[in-house]
Amino acid sequence: MANSKNVNDRVTLEHSRLSGTVEEIERRFELSDAYVQRDSLGFVTVQRKDAVSLITHLRDYLGFSHLVMVTVVDVIEKGLLRLVYLLHNYSIGADLGVQVEIPRGEAPASAAEVSGSENGNGSKSIRPGHNGDTLLASGLTSGAEAAKPAYTEMDSIHHLWAQAATYQRELKEMYGINFPGSPRVDEEFALEGWKDVPPMRRDFDTLAYSESTFFPRPGRKTHDPVEYMKKNMYPDEPDGGTGA
């Protein structure tokens, strides 16, 4: 490359735009990890109990006024969910991701009972009004028992950014993380009438679910790409064109 700056060079935290920010928050919060991916994007990992305080501090004192997104990674191998709050600072032009690891949690025993009893009596209330009322009532007392099982909980940040409520609603539906107190968090977001494991959890077998639910049309063939290429494109090469 004629270009003097090699793009593969890792920017270090100390020389990035985020160095000041990370220095500042390290004095107040206990970070278990801090790194930058590029000059304008870095991540810090913080304890669950400090997360909302850190995000509030970033927003109110350090200029991270924009919530880009809230997402989660299902780290099933370690039995935890890694929440990522991505914040943007307009004055330094950089994103900072706040990572929080929370336990995945166990499927609540009540989940099966709830769906079973609804199927049994045959006259469930399905109007949104009815549903909402019962949810509200149960939400006040126990919190965890809603129409869809929530496996685990995290503090809501809807008071910092109103739009966070939408992300949190989606996270509850897709990953089973409850955010108590978040507006409309118990209402359905994209799935209607879902009673299974939250579909974005990695222990949910989407193929098996699809096959048992959606009437697969027979005759569908799937090729393993590696085997298919070995056979059809590189039959003469011992490594099958993989270069291994």
């Binding site: 399905i126 009815h130 679910y209 096959e211 697969p216």
Partner: protein, 224 residues
């Protein structure tokens, strides 16, 4: 797998065919009790064709006046826009879009249908007046396409509503759509596009399939 095989229209003993024409009313059990009387509880009935030249004339007229329901249900809906433009000009074939199901005769399912959309598809299809026809675009409506193993996307559309013509592709181009329309015209003129009657005759089978995937069925059993 095994569960899906139980519901097959070719099998003997499906309730759909036996119930044709009898006076069983729809129960609308999924509606709140006070709302049930507000909705129609009649089943759809098959319509007998006219005899001889009358039916031929009617079919010729139907084939030359295809009004599309303007409900873009998937990514393939984007291929309907160029059809209206001067380049493809679907109006020369007597095809035009209509805003409501009540005025439309052709329903184009534009590709993948999530369960949430399928609910609206069923509702819109039932509200259309017969004779009505369904064009299904793309591999997604045929066998799920690239969403075949998705938790929320149906695999084959013809288990939920009758499909007259499938147009393969991902996505099919406007030319393919016009070819599909011409095929549909042939079928209509030959008296073979009997989707609405098929739906009425196998109503229980279609309903069972629909209710199997649409878990929050909070609408009347027949949306008329």
């Amino acid at each position: 797998m095994s569960e899906a095989k139980i519901l097959n229209p070719e099998d003997e003993g499906t309730g759909g065919r036996e119930a044709v024409g009898n006076a069983i009313r729809l129960a609308n059990l999924d509606l709140p009790e006070e709302d049930r009387e507000l909705y129609c509880d009649a089943r759809p009935q098959p319509v007998k064709p006219y005899t001889g030249i009358l039916e031929k004339f009617a079919n010729w007229a139907r084939a030359n006046s295809l009004w599309i329901l303007g409900f873009g249900t998937g990514c393939g809906a984007i291929e309907l826009r160029p059809l209206m433009t001067s380049r493809f000009d679907m109006y020369r074939y007597g095809i035009q879009p209509r805003p409501t199901p009540r005025q439309s005769g052709v329903f184009i399912i534009g590709g993948y249908a999530s369960v949430k959309t399928l609910k609206r598809i069923v509702r819109s299809y039932e509200q259309m007046q017969g004779p009505k026809f369904v064009l299904a675009l793309g591999s997604c409506t045929i066998n799920g396409g690239m969403y075949w193993d998705s938790y929320n996307t149906i695999n084959r559309l013809d288990h939920y509503i009758p499909v007259d013509v499938y147009i393969a592709g991902c996505m099919p181009r406007p030319e393919a759509l016009i070819a599909g329309f011409n095929k549909l015209k042939e079928l209509i003129k030959a008296g073979k596009a009997e989707g609405a009657n098929q739906y009425a005759e196998n109503f229980d089978w279609y309903k069972a399939n629909q209710k199997k995937v649409i878990r929050d069925w909070n609408m009347p059993d027949y949306n008329w």
